[in-house]
Structures are given as structure tokens and as C-alpha cells.
């Protein structure tokens, strides 16, 4: 069970560093769900924020933290839950954790999704395990009287996350897979325009790979909707000191800057991110040319 609305409204600010104890770990399709007990974390979590986990134990040769969207947070039980995919040695170490093991966590981090002041129809779009933060977000939106339409997409069925839970949190659900193993054959953007039109949605929330976010942002902009995109950029520290997780974002003053996805993000307005220039420093970036 997720937390109540009052907790979000009164959320503490700032992250906590803690030695978390593994409560449970379970596979879910191609992913693992990891529940961690850490005092002081859960009551601070807002939808869209992430946790940075140290991997490999106290003597680890892997120094960089791994960042994961927070899926669930339960202040009563003092637990947080993340979803992870095994990409390399660090995530393999996490997947091998057993109940009772300890892992160093820093959380919650980053700017959460902004919630509307008034009820409005919202479309939530997730690629792969980018759905992890969307369930919490959906709960918050429905508490505010918003209709929630959820789109879950992945390359194949085993890379979808949370389909079984979707009924509980959303007014409508669309599933897409590129290989047709579940739902509509294709990508989330194949069903998104019609969904936005039918729902008369002016707010789109998205989390997933960069290419998907770029496409979702473009669709939203075309249809006159705002988009909030949570990026999955590689990070070394997660707390704002290493300057590795930057991407080009247009500021209120119209200038493009290389901003940190860990503290200025991970949630950005889709129309502010220079999606086509991610991985480069655009010519007109503030501070370029020196």
C-alpha cells in the first residue's frame, strides 16, 4: 500500500543517507523488485524522485552509485521499493542481494513531478521499467481528482513492468510491445496521439529511455499538451557534485545550459530539453566557445 496524500503535502526536503536492510527481493519479468528498510526516507519521497544505491559492499571496487526511480515508499513500515534491471556488474550485485543484507542508500533525490492544482485529465507514458514512478504519480493525481490514462510500452512482454497493477491506479490502460507479445504491436507513440485527443489531456507525464521521451515530448507539443519527462541519465554521485549527468536544457531566459539531471531533474519540461542535442554541447550553449 502506498502512502497518503498528506505525506506528499508535508514532505520533508533533502535526502537521507542510510544503511538500508534488504526486506525482500523478487523477480518481475526481466526486472527485480527490491524492498529496502531505511528510516527517514519513505516519508520524504515524492513521485518522480529517485534513490542512489552504492553497490558491491564496503570494500567495493565499483565506486559510482546506481540511480533508480522510487516505485513505492511506505512511511509506516519505513521501506522504499525500487525496480532494477541487470545491466552490468553493479546491478547484478544488487539482484543477488538477500533479505538481511545491507546496502547504502541516498534518497530521495531530484525534483519530483509537478502536480496540477486543479483536476485535469492526465496521460502517463512509461517505457520498460520507467513505469516504476508512475504508480505513485497516478495515486497522487487521482487524489486530486484527475483522470489518469496510463500507457505502458516495451520491446517485449517481459520488459513491461506493472501491467497487473495498472487497473488499480488508472482510468484507462494501453499496452504496447514492439514484438506484439502483449497489447498493441508498436511503440507508445503509436497510440499516444489518439489517447491524448480522446482524453482531452493537456498534461503528459513520461519516464523511460531518451529516445522515447524525445518522441513523447514531440507528440505532446504537437497536440498542445505540456509534458514532464523523467530522464534516465547515467550518474556518478546522484547528489549534484560530479557534473557527469548533464543534458542541454533551455532556461526561462531562453539560454541553453548543460544542467544536472540529478538535481535540476530528473523531471524536466519536455519542451525545454534539447532532445536532438543530448550527448553534445549545442553551439549556442551558455559557456560554449571558450
Amino acid at each position: 500500500m502506498t502512502v497518503t496524500h498528506a505525506v506528499d503535502a508535508q514532505a520533508h526536503s533533502g535526502p537521507v543517507q542510510a544503511r538500508a536492510e534488504v526486506v525482500s527481493i523478487a523477480s518481475a519479468g526481466d526486472y527485480f523488485r527490491l524492498v529496502l528498510a531505511a528510516s527517514g526516507v519513505a516519508e520524504r519521497v515524492r513521485a518522480g524522485q529517485f534513490a542512489a544505491l552504492a553497490v558491491g559492499g564496503p570494500e567495493s571496487a565499483m565506486l559510482l552509485r546506481r540511480a533508480f526511480s522510487i516505485y513505492r515508499a511506505d512511511p509506516g513500515a519505513e521501506t522504499v521499493e525500487i525496480v532494477l534491471a541487470v545491466h552490468g556488474k553493479g546491478t547484478a550485485w544488487l539482484a543477488d542481494l538477500r533479505p538481511g543484507d545491507l546496502v547504502d542508500i541516498v534518497a530521495p533525490l531530484g525534483r519530483p513531478f509537478a502536480l496540477p492544482d486543479a483536476p485535469r485529465p492526465c496521460v502517463l507514458v512509461a517505457g520498460g521499467y520507467g513505469s516504476a514512478p508512475m504508480f505513485r504519480l497516478a495515486d497522487r493525481l487521482r487524489e486530486r481528482g484527475c483522470a489518469v490514462h496510463l500507457v505502458l510500452g516495451a520491446a517485449t512482454e517481459s520488459r513491461l513492468f506493472g501491467v497487473a497493477e495498472a487497473d488499480r491506479v488508472a482510468d484507462s490502460i494501453a499496452v504496447t510491445t514492439e514484438d506484439g507479445s502483449a497489447g498493441v504491436t508498436g511503440r507508445v507513440t503509436d497510440v499516444l496521439p489518439q489517447l491524448i485527443r480522446d482524453a482531452r489531456a493537456r498534461a503528459v507525464y513520461a519516464c523511460g529511455p531518451m529516445a522515447m521521451l524525445r518522441a513523447v515530448s514531440a507528440v505532446a507539443t504537437d497536440l498542445g499538451a505540456d509534458s514532464q519527462c523523467a530522464v534516465e541519465e547515467a550518474m556518478a554521485c546522484g547528489v549534484g557534485v560530479c557534473m557527469t549527468c548533464v543534458l542541454p536544457v533551455i532556461g526561462d531566459d531562453g539560454f541553453t545550459r548543460m544542467v544536472r539531471s540529478c538535481v535540476e531533474g530528473p523531471v524536466f519540461s519536455g519542451d525545454r530539453v534539447r532532445w536532438d542535442a543530448v550527448g553534445t554541447i549545442p553551439e549556442d550553449t551558455w559557456g560554449r566557445g571558450v
Partner: protein
Amino acid sequence: MVDVDLAIDLAGVALPNPVMTASGCAAAGRELDQFFDVAELGAIVTKSIMLAPRSGRPTPRMAETPSGMLNSIGLQGPGIDAFLADDLPWLVDRGARPIVSIAGSAVGEFVELAGRVSASPGVTAIEVNISCPNVENRGLVFACDPGQASNVIGAVRREVPSDIPVFAKLSPDVTDIVSIAESVMDAGATGLSMINTLLGITIDPDTLRPTLGGVTGGLSGPAIRPVAVRCVWQVHAAMPDVPIIGIGGIRTGADAFEFLLAGASAVQVGTVTFHDPSAPMRVAAELAGELARRGFGKPAEVIGLAHQRRGEA
């Protein structure tokens, strides 16, 4: 166990302990203040500041390596105006002791930066970054050439009031670090910060291309610690009276203790802060424990101790 007093006198500056953040690993202190009290640490060494705002190098900017990482940030920063208006006053108001790292691409830039920084209230010391490897032209790594290193440090020293120490940050990517150290000390440096990162490359086996957007990067973390200890050892052996700030892969109080034994008077904690944002203060506390367990009452008692023959002291 004896009571340990970690307080030190570093080139005339009193610090509550010999542990600092390392430049580029702590931004300007604000983010880490969420994890420990920045006013309690010996000093906060800020990310190298340049005259103009700078957007840095393209991503990917980091690659994890065994017990370390490569970075190619490329000195991204807000420029000196924003730093002096915002970052430095915050550190001073907060009660921290700021050591401001400056970087430039020409001697005149270093001089202007040094002048503006030293005219600002509350600066504990200046660290001159003449050794960042993430620049387009290796010829701009002043610390790779004794003459160029000397030119920068001499010009900075003349600009900075004598009560503000000037530390030269050296690169290990040189044939003879002692000759570089001697040249910057002759030019008027108060002391040395050593070492900066080592130049490295990793190649992605899937893309078949270098991992980093900037191709080359600086290697840091515990992987380089023996190189750093060696550099401190060699320079301390040649110039035992020169204050050295030891930097390179410090993860624990025992690691900091090793640097003191090699000849460092203080240490900086860098890359490990990415792994553990509480690391700088933890290292200070652990260092006190390392000293106490061996019966030492203060850091000064062990500086360079490893150079004495067995049986001495």
C-alpha cells in the same frame, strides 16, 4: 588510547583537521552540506573556477573503472562573477574555510582570477589548478612543463597578498614530478596539492569507440592511490619543509594516515565522495582513530614518518 587533537597549522592557516574536499568532487560545498557540516571539515576546496562561464565537454562524461573512474567534465562552471556573487559568500556565511581552485588557459587569466578571489573576504587559500587533463590541448597543461608551471605560479603569487597561501596542484603525468615541484616552489608557491588525475581512455566493446564524449579523461579513485603516495613521498624526500596536501583515492582514515606518513600535512577526499557523500568527515573521524590507536596525539607527529629509517623515532 590517547586524546587526539586533529587541529593543524597549514602554512600559517589554522584548520580544525587536516581533511578537505578535493576540487571537482564537492562543487562549492552546498550539496554536501546535506550530509555533513561543511564548517566542521578542515577546508572546502571548490571546483576549479574560470573567468567565463563554461559548458564543459559532451556526455558521456564518466566511465567506471576498477576502483576508480574516468571523468571528462571539461571544467564546466558558472564563471568567476557568479562564483563570487553566490558560491563563495555562501561558504563564508556558513562558517566553512574555502580554498578556491582557479583554472585558466593563459597566465593572465590565472592572475585576474587570483586577484579577484584574494580580494574577496573569507578566502582561506588559493589552489592553482595547472594540471587539469580535460583540455583540448595537452600543451595547456602547465604542470607538465617546469617553465610554464613556474610562470603561472610566480604571476599568481605576485598578485595574491602574502597572508593567503597559494598551493600549486600538480599532475602525476610527468617524467620527474620533483623538478616540477621545485620550479613552482622557487616561483613562490606556499605549498603543493598532489596529485591531479592521470590521463586515461576506455573503449566501449559494443560501440567499438572510446567511452567518453571527450575521448580522454582523468583517472581518479583508490586505483591511483599508490601513484599519489609515491609522488608525495618523492617530493617530501626532496623538500621536507614544503607543505603538501595529499590527494588520490583516499577512502578511509587509514588511507589519509598513509599520506601523512609519506609526507603530506593535509589530505583531500575526492572521488570517494561520489560513492559516499559523508566520506570527508568520516575520513577525519577515522584518522583520529588511526592516530589514537598508535599513540599519536596530533597529525604533525606523523608527517613524513615513513622516511625515517626503521628504529628511528
